[in-house]
């Protein structure tokens, strides 16, 4: 109790003396102030836990003083009890609406004064704690939300990586289409939320290619009419794959209609003009642009001038003219021609030395696709492969072991926290640090390192605060690994 500081403002010295005596006996610290002005000056430097304020004072009175206090953000939360000899409802109403917490009648009755002071301070403390708790809860909620978003993005990217890895000629295609689409949407004035949605739609627009045979996808010569018909079914296949993601129905829309044309001659449904959703019209432009600015089995990267002429020719026939114009502006701004497939961007390195994937055979393709997908899921596969002596099979074994052990690891960490055993926690987080590094989960390894340091220093608070994030990231990365392994048939 003696830690609490109370400021009393009253122009009657006798009252100040009485108040100070009563409160001091009960262990409160008391500062006496003889006017409203003095009190306002005082709270600029010192924040008492409670203010006792006389209503009738010379100079500014109690009401003016409380108005000024409540207008000052740094003093607003200090509770104020009014001291008054008035015994009428009008004064009480006026004071309460001005923000007073309570009243004490004059002359003071010691027991009443002490009880009201005690109650007000406790209530205020409770409210402050509640506010803090509410703030923390909403921060936790936001953090959880952010993590969920990151997880969806990682899964979507992993899936997009699987699509791109299937086709020798479309490395990074989905990501680039997503990026160009987002840029077009931004220029066209779409909200950030819509830009993000279009980015996701772009990432997965070609997901139907997962269902196409490799022999057709990578055929260097002209397709037969039958093969062409088969390829034309990829939008429908993509729509089938994505239609169950009911939280984002637009994903299926982009997969289904990105080969529709503005003039109605596209496939599969021959939609025309604004019948095609505007997000899809944007993706169609970005998709065509990337096809021309990347290597294909039947052509090399085209020059910007040629691409521009194709976009201009396609305005109103293949493309929505508005979005084609935005793409044309983007090309004009891209004086270095940096918006194109970067052949160096998809390498798997070892010991920091880049290894170019030139003479690819089927085996290499398989490994390359698998590693690309893991990379998309957030693993540094160069590190993982280094520890596994560049043996992909063994790397896959270690990944399996890592995913299998993850539930136990999480359980151990949480159990240690639950029973406050920081020493045991340190052992388990230490083990997570090494094992995640082994598979190239560097982000998790780093978080574990920080937590291990905290546990060593006995900083329980940092450990408790930091553990949910590492657990969520561990779950997310295990999800990505399992997905890559199941797509590449590497699960037992």
């Amino acid at each position: 109790m003696k830690d609490y500081l109370i400021a009393v403002a009253d122009d009657d010295k006798g009252n100040l003396k009485v108040a100070k005596r009563i409160l001091s006996i009960y262990g409160y610290r008391v500062d006496c102030l003889s006017s409203g002005e003095e009190l306002l000056e005082y709270v600029k430097g010192i924040k008492p836990d409670l203010i006792l304020l006389d209503v009738h004072m010379t100079g500014i009175d109690g009401f003016d003083t409380i108005h000024k206090l409540k207008a000052d953000p740094s003093a607003r939360n200090i509770p104020v009890i009014f001291l008054t000899a008035d015994d009428d409802a009008e004064t009480e109403t006026k004071a309460l609406s001005a923000g007073a917490a309570d009243f004490v009648g004059k002359p003071f009755v010691a027991s009443v004064l002490l009880l009201r002071v005690k109650n007000t301070i406790e209530l205020n403390k409770l409210q402050t704690d509640l506010k803090k708790e509410a703030k923390k809860l909403s921060a936790d909620f936001l953090e959880e939300h952010r993590r969920n978003e990151r997880l969806s993005m990682q899964v979507v990217k992993a899936l997009a990586g699987a699509v791109d890895a299937k086709d020798n000629y479309t490395n990074g295609h989905s990501t680039r289409v997503a990026e160009y689409s987002r840029e077009i949407a931004r220029s066209a004035g779409f909200s950030e939320k819509d830009q993000d949605k279009i980015y996701m739609m772009g990432l997965l627009h070609d997901v139907g290619k997962i269902g196409m045979p490799d022999s057709v996808m990578n055929k260097p010569t002209k397709l037969t009419p039958e093969e062409y018909e088969l390829i034309k079914s990829h939008p429908a296949v993509g729509c089938d794959i994505l239609k169950n993601i009911t939280e984002m129905p637009d994903l299926a829309v982009a997969a289904k209609w990105h080969h529709e044309r503005y003039d109605g001659t596209g496939y599969p449904d021959g939609l025309k003009g604004e019948e095609i959703p505007k997000e899809v019209r944007i993706i169609s432009v970005a998709d065509a642009y990337d096809a021309m600015s990347s290597r294909r089995s039947y052509h090399d990267v085209f020059a910007q001038e040629y691409i521009k002429s194709e976009l201009i020719n396609g305005k109103g026939t293949q493309f929505d003219p508005v979005y084609a114009d935005i793409m044309l502006e983007m090309i004009d701004e891209d004086t270095e021609y940096s918006m194109r497939e970067d052949p160096d961007a998809y390498m798997v390195g070892d010991d920091g030395v880049a290894v170019e994937q030139t003479n690819r055979n089927d085996d290499n393709d398989f490994v390359f696709g698998f590693l690309s997908m893991l990379e998309a899921g957030g693993l540094d596969t160069a590190v993982g492969m280094k520890y596994c002596m560049n043996d992909t099979e063994f790397y896959a074994e270690m990944l399996t072991e890592f995913t299998r052990g993850s539930d136990d690891r999480i359980r151990h960490l949480e159990e240690c926290l639950a029973c406050g055993n920081i020493e045991q926690y340190r052992t388990h987080i230490h083990s997570l640090k090494s094992s995640s590094k082994t598979v190239g989960a560097m982000d998790i390894s780093e978080q574990a390192r920080v937590l291990e340091e905290a546990a060593k220093a006995g900083d329980g608070r940092a450990v408790i605060d930091g553990t949910p994030a590492v657990v969520a990231d561990l779950r997310a990365i295990v999800g990505s690994i399992l997905m890559a392994m199941s797509i590449y048939g590497l699960t037992d």
Binding site: M389, E401, G405, T427, S431
Partner: protein, 120 residues
């Protein structure tokens, strides 16, 4: 070809070291805690034991002390392992007559150096 015992509660670490040893033509035996490790030290008679320091319950230093205290295993060749190797760990390892301390995750070259030290 020699037999190496790996005592580590983390299955990944056992497999990792085991894989490297296998590639070099050795065999590996795993144990997930100190008591299992000491039992296998007696039954398997490995040419070298890799012993993790950070284990729940009985840590590697205590396990090594117990190995030294038992006349049947006192002379065993042991190399410690841990995530972060520092001077303190190295001097403690030397005091208990360990061949050294490997940093985890274990890498092939470092393990090979230990094998050489052990005369394998």
């Amino acid at each position: 070809m020699s037999k190496v015992l790996i005592i580590d509660d983390d299955a990944m670490a056992v497999r990792m070291a085991g894989f490297i040893l296998k590639k070099k033509g050795h065999t590996a035996v795993g144990a997930e805690n100190g008591s299992e490790g000491r039992a296998k030290l007696l039954s398997e008679k490995p040419a070298l034991t890799l012993l993790d320091i950070e284990m729940p319950d009985e840590n590697g230093m205590d396990v090594l002390k117990a190995i030294r205290a038992d006349a049947l295993t006192a002379d065993a060749k042991v190399c410690l392992m841990t995530g972060t190797v520092d001077d303190k760990v190295l001097s403690a390892a030397a005091e208990l007559g360990a061949l050294g301390c490997l940093e985890k995750p274990v890498q092939a070259q470092a393990l090979e150096d230990v094998l050489k030290k052990a005369g394998i």
